[in-house]
């Protein structure tokens, strides 16, 4: 914890869990055993030791959202994300400059002062015990032997109200010099010794120091301490019979009015009148819990522990209403944990023009500017990023990321493409669906610590002419070329990727699918395809065109240093317009050139699925090997090489 906000996040996260545990314990106070009553505090201890908000998770309530909202509202800062790296206070990196820095300093001083107080009081107690008179261990050893418990050195100290164990590593049993401690009190303390309960006392004291200004956690610390004593009572009562149990209760009652001055590192049967009253009530309910009860105890503990410790991740359903503080905070605290999630979130931010979605995948350095935009546009219209486009985006058609490519370590690039109903800026549109406009934008996704963020590489452009969202070779492609005689042989290759966002709707009779525009910040690309086409372009003398009657091409993509040759075309296919592919990547296309054929001849095209999670999914062919046939005869073996070093080429 390095600032007041991270402390707030940590302490609120623990408080939510503490409130739930207090409720559950109240419900099961008379139903589950003291072992469970104390053991369940272990869940709270784990939560206190785990950094709050780790991995974008929260416990019970979205505390990171509320802390971030409060921080932004009070400081006007949107560009930092509150993080808990370790759940203990760390020295601030810079001298205090704001009131919040001073508050954190006060918190740190408070924690340090309380810890110092505990340590000093423990040291003073140990020194006082050193001055005590070594006790005749006969009775202590006799009680330990009778109940089969370990013993430790004992000292008699004047003025002690009752016996207690002090220390974890070299424990000492402190006995009052005046009078003789009852055997049952010794039994209680020796049980503390056996189960090393003093160590739990230190753990509780440590958490008290960390959260000294949180009364709810102090209440839990009190309850945990009392549960530890109740557990020890239970263990003692299990070893006692009949009248001895009643005596034990009477001894406890006799301590109820005594002063309660607990020092960390000690255990004592006397822990204050109010607590003793609770313990006596528990003793009145005493029963030996059947072995089968462990099943219910473990099951209840598991159901509480798993969601509390594992936490919940915020989904992408950022609130569409609310103040800019809340929307921006939601965006910052709902990180995209995959690059596919970041692309998906950005695409949906653009398509729905929701600046909260954009905040989810925007770098922290851009958050202040984004919030500024949100403030400026609110309340008339806070939509992002192109107000003038808001009625022109066909959000139901979804989007595609074209030509997804790794761009260095932890970075990917791709072209976002989505449909427009009509041109955005008054351009003419034929009205034909087939000539509907698309909007495109090159994007780069990068990992910024734990978050994937998207950095647009250009403004959004509207491109006319082709309605196809998927498999559109009119959009940028990798181009491969080879030349032979009058012919330029050309291949175009591209990929598409998208996160499946279709949801099924039912009206009772019909099932329909619609596009869910809620971002999926943790998604993987589960829809991926590659597409290719082969063309032959005649570049020779127009008068010689009649000399060609057919052109055919057998092809094979080559990856890296592969040394395979394309399969020859079955001669029976050379007489007709035909094309085909095989599972091994071989393909062919044959075109009969009839009178008046165009210079640009389509030979073949196709594609297949891409598993974006598989190794080598992003690998483009390094070249295409081809066998060219002219007029039904094999003319040449070619290698089509990438144009412009394999860059994506705009049509």
């Amino acid at each position: 914890m390095t600032d007041i906000w991270s402390f707030l996040l940590q302490t609120l996260t623990a408080s939510g869990a503490a409130a739930l545990l207090l409720c559950v314990k109240a419900m099961f106070r008379d139903k589950l055993s003291p072992r469970w009553q104390f053991g369940i505090w272990g869940v709270l201890a784990v939560i206190l030791l785990l950094p709050a908000g780790f991995g974008g998770r929260y416990v019970l309530l979205n505390w990171p959202l509320w802390v971030e909202s409060l921080k932004s509202a009070l400081t006007g800062d949107f560009g930092t994300l509150t993080k808990v790296i370790v759940p203990v206070p760390l020295p601030p990196a810079t001298p205090p400059g704001t009131v919040f820095d001073w508050l954190f300093l006060v918190y740190e001083l408070g924690a340090a002062a309380l810890l110092a107080r505990y340590v000093i009081s423990y040291i003073r107690l140990r020194l006082a015990l050193r001055k005590g008179r070594p006790a005749q261990n006969g009775r202590v050893r006799a009680v330990a032997a009778w109940y089969g418990l370990p013993a430790c050195p004992a000292v008699e100290v004047g003025g002690l109200p009752t016996a207690f164990i002090c220390g974890v590593i070299r424990p000492v049993l402190a006995l009052p010099a005046e009078g003789e401690a009852d055997d049952k009190v010794l039994l209680h303390e020796l049980l503390h010794l056996k189960h090393k309960d003093v160590a739990w006392g230190w753990v509780i004291a440590f958490f008290r120091c960390l959260h000294w200004c949180n009364p709810l956690l102090w209440l839990c610390a009190d309850r945990a301490g009392n549960d530890l004593e109740s557990l020890c009572d239970q263990r003692a009562l299990e070893r006692l019979e009949g009248e001895e149990r009643r005596d034990y209760g009477r001894i406890l009652l006799s301590m109820a009015d005594e002063r309660y001055a607990r020092t960390p590192g000690t255990s004592s049967a006397a822990n204050g009148g109010k607590n003793i009253r609770r313990r006596v009530e528990a003793i009145a309910r005493f029963k030996r819990y059947p072995r089968g009860m462990a099943l219910a105890s473990v099951c209840v503990a598991l159901v509480l522990a798993v969601p509390l410790v594992a936490g919940v991740r915020a989904d992408g359903d950022c609130p569409a209403v609310g103040g800019t503080d809340i929307i921006m905070a939601y965006g910052r605290t709902t990180p995209c944990t995959t690059y596919a999630g970041a692309f998906d979130t950005y695409a949906k931010a653009v398509m729905t023009q929701h600046f909260g979605y954009r905040a989810m995948c925007a770098p922290l350095s851009e958050q202040n500017a984004l919030a500024e935009q949100g403030w400026r546009l609110r309340p008339a219209d806070w939509r992002w990023p192109q107000v003038s486009w808001k009625d022109k985006v066909n959000a139901q058609a979804g989007y595609q990321i074209y030509n997804l490519t790794p761009a260095g370590e932890n970075a990917y690039e791709g072209l976002l493409v989505f449909e427009l109903y009509s041109p955005p800026n008054g351009e003419q549109w034929s009205g034909l669906t087939a000539e509907r406009w698309l909007a495109v934008q090159w994007l780069r996704a990068e990992k910024e610590e734990e978050r994937w963020v998207v950095i647009p590489q250009e403004g959004i452009r509207a491109v006319p002419g082709d309605q196809r969202l998927g498999s559109n070779l009119g959009l940028p492609c990798r181009v491969y070329e080879a030349r032979y005689g009058d012919w330029l042989i050309q291949a175009r290759w591209q990929t598409t990727a998208a996160v499946n966002s279709l949801v099924q709707n039912s009206n009772g009779f019909w099932n329909t699918a619609s596009f869910d525009s809620t971002p999926k910040p943790r998604a993987q690309f589960d829809q991926g395809y590659d597409h290719y086409q082969f063309w032959a372009v005649y570049t020779g003398d127009p008068d010689k065109k009649s000399g060609y009657t057919s052109i055919s091409l057998a092809t094979l993509p080559v990856y890296g240093a592969e040394d395979r040759e394309p399969e020859l075309i079955d001669p029976s296919y050379l007489d007709t317009d035909s094309s085909g592919t095989s599972n091994w990547g071989n393909g062919f296309g044959n075109c009969i050139l009839e009178d008046g054929w165009e210079d640009r001849v389509f030979l073949s095209g196709g594609g297949g699925g891409v598993d974006w999670g598989a190794d080598g999914a992003y690998l483009a062919p390094s070249a295409y090997r081809a066998i060219l046939y002219l007029n039904g005869g094999q003319a040449a073996e070619l290698t089509l090489l990438p144009v412009e070093g394999g860059e994506w080429i705009e049509p």
């Binding site: 409720c23 089968g292 159901v303």
Partner: protein
């Protein structure tokens, strides 16, 4: 049958049918909402009735009644909200977890008490108490695992989890049917039993 035996017999009938209502469900589509025609709150009311009728034999059952009322209210509210396409669960994790632990404890304690009843009333050579305990253990484990799986955060394994939860739902129905058959078998102990045994 004497009034006491009649009460025990009815209590066990209510308990068995309570488990039927808790696990067997048929839904009716109403205005795009799905409403149960065998609502779970009826199951909880039947279990509450069983607690009342059997509390004379097992005093621990009286401790379960507040939890039973809580569950009846929760599932009743859920059933009412279902009519308008809403549900009480899944909104506030705090409450969902409270309800989950109440359900686990209630079934554990209730079936433990049924097993103790069987131990008291079945013939000495009978095995019903042991069978009820085993079925209780399986039943409680299944509902616990289903809850844990539901709350376990998953990434790409979400599909795997949904299959596992479906498997556990089926296992839960089977376990509930076995529990029902055990309760019906226990009910037989109170039909045609000698008066001296019924006094135990």
């Amino acid at each position: 049958m004497s009034p006491d035996r009649e009460s025990l017999y009815r209590g066990l009938s209510h308990a068995a049918w309570g488990y039927f209502f808790l696990h067997i469900d048929f839904n009716l589509g109403v205005n795009q909402a799905s409403v149960s025609i065998l609502p779970r709150f009826v199951g909880w009311l039947l279990l509450l009735s069983a607690c009342r009728k059997l509390a004379g034999e097992r005093r621990d059952l009286a401790l379960l009644r507040p939890l039973g009322w809580l569950m009846a209210a929760w599932t009743g509210a859920d059933w009412l909200l279902n009519w308008v396409g809403l549900s009480v669960s899944g909104h506030i994790l705090f409450l969902d977890l409270l309800i989950s632990v109440v359900v686990i404890y209630f079934h554990f304690q209730f079936l433990t008490d049924m097993a103790v009843l069987a131990q008291c009333f079945e013939p000495p050579e009978g095995t019903l108490a042991g069978r009820l305990r085993r079925r209780r253990t399986v039943y409680v484990l299944v509902i616990t695992l289903a809850d844990v799986l539901l709350y376990l955060p998953v990434g790409r394994e979400a599909e795997l989890r949904s299959y596992a939860v479906m498997g556990l739902v089926v296992a839960g129905i089977l376990a509930a049917l076995f529990v029902m058959s055990g309760l019906f078998a226990l009910r037989k102990c109170f039909r045609g039993q000698g008066p001296e045994q019924a006094q135990r």
